[in-house]
């Protein structure tokens, strides 16, 4: 049973890291109705910027600030050169534009900051905390705990920002109805710039955490795609949904990885490792059949 909990907890904690990426998607979707396919590429790009700037001799803190600025500039440029031309276009057009942005970033990042795999060392080791290990017998990684703490703080800040401030309210308004927001004098351009800046910041945090766990490499963009099943579970418009979705995906994929292969081997023989690679997607697919709007998503009822 201890082993079960150990697997479940490490799954939950790593699930929060998926939540973080999902959060970037949710932010932009909430504020502009755009599904930003480039969020994964932004995570990669932000992490690359950090290691790239450190290669140039900057200390880590300066590289992180530098990367933040790069992400803000990137957000502003995206609004200026891509989104502004596409106001009031169908969502699918905007979605296609973000696919274009994905490839652009995946090319530009390595070009500017180099493409060899480099680690980010945040100074927190990825090993179990001994005191918990000794007393309860469950291994919880220090790094996981640190990452979770960071993410929780970030989420609380974002929630307050969205619910309590004028800018947050304007963001929600723009998300709901461009036309109406414009008629109230809410400057769409500023709002989009803010949102893309925020999404860039979230991508940077995700890039730092993922980069220090797996190293900064192209595979980050693939890992970031795990945010998709998280979003399907949690709903595309809900910040709490992104968190809960991440927890469920994280825990279930780790448990599936441990407990399903032995059963499958008994039944069919052969090797069934690597289930965690695809399990979340199948899980999300099944979930879609039951509850297409996600756990926390807004249910759409259309007049026919």
């Amino acid at each position: 049973m201890q082993f079960f909990f150990e697997v479940a907890i490490s799954g939950l904690l790593s699930g929060l890291m998926y939540s973080l990426v999902a959060l970037g998607f949710v932010l932009i979707y909430k504020a502009s109705g755009v599904f930003n396919f480039a969020q994964g590429a932004m995570v990669y790009f932000a992490a690359l910027a950090v290691v790239g700037l450190m290669d140039k001799g900057l200390p880590m803190w300066a590289a992180i600030i530098g990367s933040f600025l790069v992400m803000v500039v990137l957000g502003l440029a995206t609004e200026r050169f891509v989104l502004r031309k596409l106001v009031n276009q169908p969502e699918i057009t905007l979605f296609m534009a973000t696919i274009g942005l994905t490839f652009f970033l995946e090319g530009l990042g390595p070009m500017l900051f180099g493409n060899e795999i480099r680690p980010i060392d945040l100074g927190i080791v990825d090993e179990p905390i001994m005191s918990i290990m000794d007393s309860v017998g469950i291994g919880i990684s220090k790094f996981d705990l640190f990452a979770s703490g960071t993410i929780i703080v970030l989420v609380i800040l974002l929630a307050v920002f969205f619910q309590k401030t004028k800018v947050g309210r304007a963001l929600r308004a723009v998300a709901d109805d461009h036309q109406a927001a414009l008629s109230l004098g809410i400057p769409l351009q500023h709002i989009w710039a803010i949102v893309w800046g925020l999404a860039g910041f979230v991508a940077l945090v995700a890039g730092l955490l993922w980069g220090s766990r797996n190293g900064v490499q192209f595979a980050l963009t693939m890992t970031a795609l795990k945010a998709l099943p998280v979003l399907i579970l949690g709903g595309f418009t809900s910040i709490p949904g992104a968190i809960v979705g991440g927890l469920i995906i994280g825990a279930s994929e780790k448990l599936a990885e441990i407990y399903i292969p032995p059963v499958m081997q008994d039944w069919f023989g052969g090797n069934f490792g690597g289930i965690e690679g695809w399990f979340p997607y199948v899980f999300a697919l099944l979930f879609l059949l039951v509850r297409p709007e996600g756990l926390f998503g807004e249910k759409h009822i259309d007049r026919v």
Partner: protein, 262 residues
């Protein structure tokens, strides 16, 4: 009659407006003006170009020809944000509220053009930003009282009945303290009682705040009752303009509405 009700000078003058979408002509060479404090109605059969006209005033559509003079300032095109800042607020034919947000939050967004404190102060919920929020909240509460929607202020808009949503949309527009209010079919889909309420609110807004009102409406009884002057559009052309009585007796208008015998 109070002083405010006195019809003033022309504040909005539309000159030879033509608007086309590709080959489809939505508006052809339309001119009319709106005087301060009046209630000006735009009527016409479906597809006559009424909403397009409102969208031109509001800056959503940019006419290919013609000029718009608002408070002495001539413009060919405008963007909706600037229009809002000049004091023109509007409602939409298909209610355009922020459905996931509460009534109160929806109406607070109407204060957007009046809010001054910077982004950072706002994000951090700092002193000045906080005081500002409270001041705006006061105005919003007045609008809520005025439109008698106190009881629903914390309800998400999506859950409200249609008639109430229309009223909330009006509240959001009023929260901007506009000098001119554009109403796109404010009574569409309402029952008799709701229509009466809405009529009363429109007249009160016009009377108490001195707001100039431009409205599109299909209910002829309502239009003839409350408007000072009426402009009639048909197939994107102006076919009548004048007081309700004049318009009602205009043979062109009668033809457009009742059809001709062949």
């Amino acid at each position: 009659m109070t002083d405010k009700r006195q019809i003033g000078d022309v504040i909005l003058d539309l000159q030879n407006i033509s608007l086309a979408f590709g080959g489809v002509k939505a508006l052809t060479d339309i001119s009319f003006d709106v005087r301060q404090h009046e209630i000006r109605a735009i009527i016409g059969p479906n597809g006559a170009g009424k909403s397009s006209m409102l969208n031109v005033i509001n800056g959503v559509y940019h006419p290919q020809q013609g000029g718009i003079v608002f408070h002495g300032e001539t413009r060919r095109q405008m963007n909706p944000t600037k229009v809002a800042r000049q004091g023109i607020a509007r409602t939409f034919q298909n209610i355009a509220l922020f459905k996931g947000m509460t009534v109160l939050d929806n109406i607070m967004t109407g204060r957007n053009t009046k809010m001054r404190s910077g982004f950072l102060a706002n994000a951090l919920w700092w002193g000045p930003a906080r005081n500002e929020e409270i001041a705006h909240r006061k105005v919003v509460e007045e609008v809520i009282d005025f439109l008698e929607i106190q009881h629903i202020r914390k309800v998400p808009v999506g859950r409200l009945a249609y008639g109430l949503q229309k009223r909330v949309e009006l509240a959001r527009a009023l929260a901007a303290e506009p000098s001119m209010l554009l109403l796109d079919e404010p009574m569409a889909g309402m029952n008799v009682e709701e229509k009466q309420d809405m009529c009363r609110f429109i007249l009160d807004v016009n009377d108490q705040f001195g707001t100039t009102i431009v409205l599109i409406e299909h209910d002829m009884g309502v239009v003839m009752d409350i408007s000072d002057r009426v402009v009639v559009l048909d197939y994107g052309k102006k076919i009548g303009d004048g007081t309700p009585d004049e318009v009602m007796n205009n043979p062109e208008v009668i033809k457009a509405y009742l059809g001709t015998t062949h």
